[in-house]
C-alpha cells in the first residue's frame, strides 16, 4: 500500500455537481491541473415543472378562444425525453471537462489516513495541494424504527425514476421540494395529498409567500393536511395505506386524531436534505462538521483543515429568515411595501391565480434589503432586481425606474 503511486494534481475535486464542475473548470482555465471524482451521473433538471405548467395553460386555452385543446398526459413520453435531455447534458459536461483537460475519475472517494490529505477511489490514490469537497446532499429519509413501513416510500430521487403517473400520491414535507413535487403531480393528473407538520408550507420564506402559497395550493385542488404526521405505512392489495395523526396545537383539549389514506401508489418523502459527508471518512481529517453533518466553512470556503475546501450543498446554507431584517435593524427601522393582484393573463380565464409581492426596506433612505414574490413569471422577474438590490438600490431608485407595460414586474416599481 505504501508503495502505491499517488496521482498528484493542483486541484482535486470530490463531486461533479454544479460547484465541483465550476471550480474545476475555472482552475483549469487559470492553468491548474485538475481532476474531478464522481460516483454517479450528473443530476436532474426542472424539465418536469415545464410539463406541468403546460397542464395549467391547457385549461386556459378555451378562454382564449382555442377549441379542442383537451388533452391526456403521457408520462412515458416526457420521461423518455427528459432522460434523453439529461443524458445529453451529462455528455456535454463530460465533453467540457475533457476539452479543459480535467481528468474524470469514476467512483466513490474516501479520505485515507496518509499524513498529506489523500483520497482513495477504487483502490487508487490521489492527492493535491488543494482538495475541494463538493459532494452535495441527498434527500433525508425516515427510518422504519421511527415510522414503520417508511421505506415503502420514495424520495425526490425516486420521483425521476417513475415510469408512469401515480394515480394517488401522498407527499410528506412543507419545503419547496415538497411543494414543487405536489404541484407537478397534481397538474399532471395524480390525486395528490400533502402532509405538513405545521400550519403552512414554506415556513422559511417570508410570511407573505408562506400564506399565499399555502392558499394557492389548496385552491389548485391539492388535499392539504395541516398539523399532521405519518405514523405508519402498510402495504395492501390495493396499494399503500398511510396512517396519519393530526393534532391542532392551538387546541390543547382535543386528542390526537387518527386517519388514513388508502390506495396510494406513490408515497414521497420530501422532508429535507442532508449533506453527503458520511462516506468521506472525514473523521480524522480535522475537518469540522456541524450537528447536521454539514462541513463548516468560512466566507472563503476554507474548512478547518488547511488545503481542504468545501462548496455547495455539503456546506449547508445560511437560510435567510424573513425576520432577519428586524433582528438586524430594529422594528422601527424596517418598512415593508406589499401588493397583491391578479395578473392580466387571467383577465379572460376562468382559472385565476394571485401574484403577491413584498419589499423590505430599512433606514431613512429605505434601502431595499429583501424582495419576496410569488406568482406567474416571478422566476424570470427576479434576476434583474437581485442585481440592483446587491448594488444597494433604495425604494426611491425603484420608484424612479419607469415601468414596462403591460407586465407583472412593473408592479415592483410602482408600489405605494
Amino acid at each position: 500500500m505504501a508503495d502505491q503511486p499517488v496521482s498528484r494534481y493542483d486541484l482535486l475535486v470530490v463531486g461533479g455537481g454544479s460547484g465541483g464542475l465550476a471550480g474545476a473548470r475555472r482552475a483549469a482555465e487559470l492553468g491548474a491541473t485538475a481532476a474531478v471524482i464522481e460516483s454517479h451521473k450528473l443530476g436532474g433538471t426542472c424539465v418536469m415543472w415545464n410539463a406541468s405548467s403546460h397542464a395549467e395553460f391547457l385549461h386556459d386555452h378555451a378562454d382564449y378562444g382555442f377549441e379542442g385543446a383537451c388533452a391526456r398526459f403521457s408520462w412515458q413520453s416526457i420521461k423518455n425525453k427528459r432522460d434523453a435531455y439529461v443524458s445529453r447534458l451529462n455528455q456535454i459536461y463530460r465533453n467540457n471537462l475533457d476539452k479543459a483537460k480535467i481528468h474524470t475519475i469514476q467512483g466513490h472517494a474516501r479520505f485515507t489516513g496518509d499524513p498529506e490529505p489523500t483520497v482513495e477511489v477504487s483502490g487508487r490514490k490521489y492527492t493535491a495541494s488543494h482538495i475541494l469537497i463538493a459532494t452535495g446532499g441527498r434527500p433525508s429519509t425516515v427510518s422504519d424504527e421511527d415510522v414503520p413501513g417508511a421505506s415503502l416510500g420514495i424520495t425526490s430521487d425516486g420521483f425521476f425514476e417513475l415510469e408512469s403517473c401515480p394515480k394517488r400520491s401522498v407527499i410528506v414535507g412543507a419545503g419547496y421540494i415538497a411543494v414543487e413535487m405536489a404541484g407537478i403531480l397534481s397538474s399532471l393528473g395524480s390525486t395528490t395529498s400533502l402532509i405538513i407538520r405545521q400550519g403552512g408550507v414554506l415556513r422559511n420564506f417570508d410570511a407573505l409567500i408562506s400564506s399565499n402559497c399555502t392558499r394557492e395550493l389548496q385552491n389548485s385542488g391539492i388535499d392539504l393536511w395541516k398539523n399532521t404526521q405519518v405514523r405508519s405505512v402498510h402495504k395492501t392489495d390495493s396499494g399503500l395505506k398511510i396512517v396519519l395523526a393530526t393534532k391542532d396545537p392551538e387546541d390543547k383539549d382535543v386528542e390526537e386524531k387518527t386517519s388514513s389514506i388508502e390506495g396510494v401508489d406513490c408515497l414521497l418523502w420530501a422532508i429535507g436534505r442532508e449533506p453527503n459527508t458520511a462516506g468521506l471518512n472525514l473523521g480524522q481529517m480535522g475537518v469540522d462538521l456541524d450537528s447536521k453533518g454539514h462541513i463548516v466553512v468560512d466566507e472563503f470556503q476554507n474548512t478547518t483543515r488547511k488545503g481542504i475546501y468545501a462548496v455547495g450543498d455539503v456546506c449547508g446554507k445560511a437560510l435567510l429568515t424573513p425576520d432577519e431584517a428586524i433582528k438586524s435593524w430594529g422594528k422601527s427601522s424596517v418598512k415593508t411595501y406589499t401588493t397583491s393582484f391578479t395578473p392580466m393573463y387571467h383577465a379572460i380565464t376562468t382559472r385565476k391565480t394571485l401574484c403577491v409581492m413584498k419589499l423590505v426596506c430599512v433606514g431613512k433612505e429605505e434601502k431595499v434589503v429583501g424582495l419576496h414574490m410569488q406568482g406567474v413569471g416571478c422566476d424570470e422577474m427576479l434576476q434583474g432586481f437581485a442585481v440592483a438590490i446587491k448594488m444597494g438600490a433604495t425604494k426611491a431608485d425603484f420608484d424612479k425606474t419607469i415601468a414596462i407595460h403591460p407586465t407583472s414586474s412593473e408592479e415592483l416599481v410602482t408600489m405605494r
Partner: protein, 516 residues
C-alpha cells in the same frame, strides 16, 4: 429644448408669469371652476388628475373619443386601455398559447388534433375586459372626486375651455391650469387610393366582431409587427409590408432577430415594398397592388383585411391650440414642451403622446403626470427623467431593452470606447419542445474603460418584459459589467444568462452558451 421661444414669446411668458403669481395668491374656488382641467382621459391624463385630486386640488377630466374612420369607438382610458397595450397583450397571450399547444405535445400531452382558434371568443373576452377597465376608471375618478365629462374640449383662452358633447350640448369651464393629454391616433396613407375606404387601423382591429382573416399589415413599427405576430399565432395568414427597415429607432441587430424569428414562425414579409392602391373585388376580398422598390415591379395579392400601421399623428387638430398661443412642432405637429412639461403658454401643460420629443409609452405618461400633479400642488420640484426608459416589444419572440442601442452607443462614444458583451442562449423550455432558439440573444453594451458602466441592455426571448424590468432598475442605479458578472444567477431561468455573459463582440469568438 434650447431656443424654444422667440423674443416676443419671452415677453408673453414674463407677463404671464407675473399674472400667474397674482392669480395663485387669490387661490382657487372663487376665481376658477377648477384648479386643474385635463383634456384627455388616457394614461397621462388620468394619472395626473387622480394624483392632483388626491393632493387636494379641484380637478376635472374631459374625455372624448372621435370615432375611427370605420366608426369604432370606445370608453374612458385612452389608447393603452382600449386600442393599445391591454388588448394587444391579451391577443399576444392568445398567440403564445397557440404555440404552447404545439409544445405541450412534446411534453407528453396527447391532444386530439386539430386545435383551432375562434376569433369571436377571444375578441368578445378581450372587449369585455376592456369595458370592465373603462368602468373601473370611471369609478376611480368618482372615488377620487375628479369630475368626469364625456365631452370634447377646445381652448378658448389660456384659462377657458369649451366643452362639446356628442349630442351638441355645449358649456364653458375655467381652470387655473390646463393639461393637454389627448394622445395620438393612427395615420392613414391618404395618398394610396382605397386606403381610407377599405383599410383598418389598430383602432379597429381589437374591436372586430369577426375574424380579420388573411391580413396585410402595412408598416414594420412595433405596432405592425406585434399585430402581424399575434394574427399569425392564432392561425391567420399575415403578411408585413416593410418600406425600408423594421423597428426604426430600435437596435437594428435586435430588430433583425425579431423579424427573422417571425419569418420562421410563419409571418410573411414583403421587404422594400410600398402599397400603390387597394381595391375591393366583387367577392368582398381586397386586392392590393404594391411596388417592389428594388425592382420597380408591381405585384398584387388579395386579402380579407388591410391593416395600416404607418405611424401615429397627434390629436391637436380640434383643440384650437395655436390661436391661444400654444406652439406646435413644425414637422410633427406635436405640442412643444419644456423640461417641466410646460407649453409656450405658462399655465398650459402637455404630457404623453401629444408632447413633442416624449416617448409614446404609457408608463412615461403616467409617471410624468404624477410628477406634474405634485409640482402643481407645490409639493415638489422634481422633474421627469426621460432617460433610460425600458420597453418591450411583444412580438412572438419578445424583445426587451433599456438604454442605448449599439449604433447609438457607437455614435456617442465611438466604437473603440465601447465593449459589447453578448450571448446566444437556449431557453430550457425550448429543449424538449424542440424549438429553434437561434434568435434568443442577449447584448449588453458597456463603456470600455474603468468600471465598464452598462449603457444599453437588450434581450430577445420569452417573458422579455418580466426579465427586463429589474435590469432597468439596475441601470438606473449605475450598473457596471463587473457588478452584473458578480451577481449570482437564479437557476434555471433565462434571466440568469444576463449575469453570465463574458464573450465580447470584439473578440470575434462564438457567443453560443454551452452549459455551466
Amino acid at each position: 429644448m434650447a431656443a424654444l421661444y422667440s423674443r416676443s414669446r419671452l415677453k408673453l411668458l414674463l407677463r404671464s408669469a407675473l399674472h400667474l403669481s397674482n392669480r395663485t395668491l387669490t387661490g382657487s374656488g372663487g376665481k376658477f371652476d377648477y384648479d386643474l382641467l385635463v383634456i384627455g382621459g388616457g394614461s397621462g391624463g388620468l394619472a395626473c388628475s387622480k394624483e392632483a385630486a388626491q393632493l387636494g386640488q379641484k380637478v376635472a377630466v374631459l374625455d372624448y373619443v372621435e370615432p375611427s374612420v370605420r366608426g369604432t369607438k370606445w370608453g374612458l382610458g385612452g389608447t393603452c386601455v382600449n386600442v393599445g397595450c391591454i388588448p394587444k397583450k391579451l391577443m399576444h397571450q392568445a398567440a403564445l398559447l397557440g404555440s404552447a399547444v404545439k409544445d405541450a405535445q412534446k411534453y407528453g400531452w396527447q391532444i386530439p388534433q386539430p386545435v383551432s382558434h375562434d376569433w369571436a371568443t377571444l375578441a368578445e373576452s378581450v372587449q369585455n375586459y376592456v369595458k370592465s377597465l373603462n368602468w373601473g376608471h370611471r369609478v376611480q375618478l368618482q372615488d377620487r372626486k375628479v369630475k368626469y365629462m364625456n365631452m370634447k374640449g377646445s381652448l378658448v383662452d389660456d384659462h377657458t375651455v369649451r366643452c362639446l358633447s356628442s349630442r351638441g350640448k355645449e358649456m364653458t369651464v375655467t381652470a387655473r391650469n390646463i393639461l393637454i393629454a389627448t394622445g395620438g391616433r393612427p395615420k392613414y396613407p391618404t395618398h394610396v387610393p382605397g386606403a381610407l375606404e377599405f383599410g383598418i387601423s389598430s383602432d379597429d382591429l381589437f374591436w372586430l366582431k369577426e375574424t380579420p382573416g388573411k391580413t396585410l399589415v402595412v408598416g414594420a413599427s412595433y405596432v405592425g409587427l406585434e399585430c402581424a405576430g399575434f394574427l399569425t399565432g392564432i392561425g391567420l395568414e399575415a403578411t408585413v409590408m416593410v418600406r425600408s427597415i423594421a423597428l426604426r429607432g430600435f437596435d437594428q441587430q435586435m430588430s433583425r432577430l425579431v423579424t427573422d424569428y417571425m419569418q420562421g414562425y410563419g409571418t410573411r414579409f414583403c421587404w422594400d415594398c410600398v402599397p400603390k392602391k387597394v381595391e375591393k373585388l366583387p367577392s368582398g376580398l381586397l386586392q392590393v397592388t404594391w411596388t417592389d422598390s428594388r425592382t420597380g415591379q408591381d405585384h398584387q395579392d388579395t386579402f380579407n383585411s388591410v391593416l395600416w400601421a404607418v405611424g401615429r399623428a397627434p390629436e391637436t387638430g380640434t383643440l384650437n391650440l395655436q390661436q391661444v398661443g400654444v406652439e406646435l412642432d413644425g414637422d410633427t405637429r406635436k405640442v412643444m414642451v419644456a423640461d417641466d412639461e410646460r407649453t409656450s403658454v405658462p399655465n398650459i401643460y402637455a404630457i404623453g403622446d401629444i408632447a413633442q420629443g416624449r416617448p409614446e409609452l404609457t408608463p412615461t405618461a403616467i409617471h410624468a403626470g404624477k410628477l406634474l400633479a405634485r409640482r402643481l400642488a407645490g409639493l415638489s420640484s422634481q422633474l421627469m427623467d426621460y432617460s433610460n426608459v425600458p420597453t418591450t416589444v411583444f412580438t412572438p419572440l419578445e424583445y426587451g431593452c433599456v438604454g442605448l442601442s449599439e449604433e447609438e452607443a457607437e455614435r456617442r462614444y465611438g466604437k473603440d470606447k465601447i465593449e459589447v458583451y453578448h450571448a446566444f442562449y437556449k431557453p430550457l423550455e425550448f429543449t424538449v419542445a424542440e424549438r429553434d432558439s437561434s434568435q434568443c440573444y442577449i447584448k449588453v453594451v458597456c463603456e470600455r474603460d474603468g468600471d465598464q458602466k452598462v449603457v444599453g441592455l437588450h434581450f430577445t426571448g420569452l417573458n422579455a418584459g418580466e426579465v427586463t424590468q429589474g435590469f432597468a432598475l439596475s441601470l438606473r442605479c449605475g450598473l457596471s459589467y463587473a457588478q452584473l458578472r458578480d451577481s449570482v444567477g437564479i437557476h434555471p431561468t433565462c434571466a440568469e444568462e444576463l449575469t453570465k455573459i463574458y464573450i465580447t463582440k470584439r473578440s470575434g469568438l462564438d457567443a453560443t452558451v454551452t452549459g455551466c
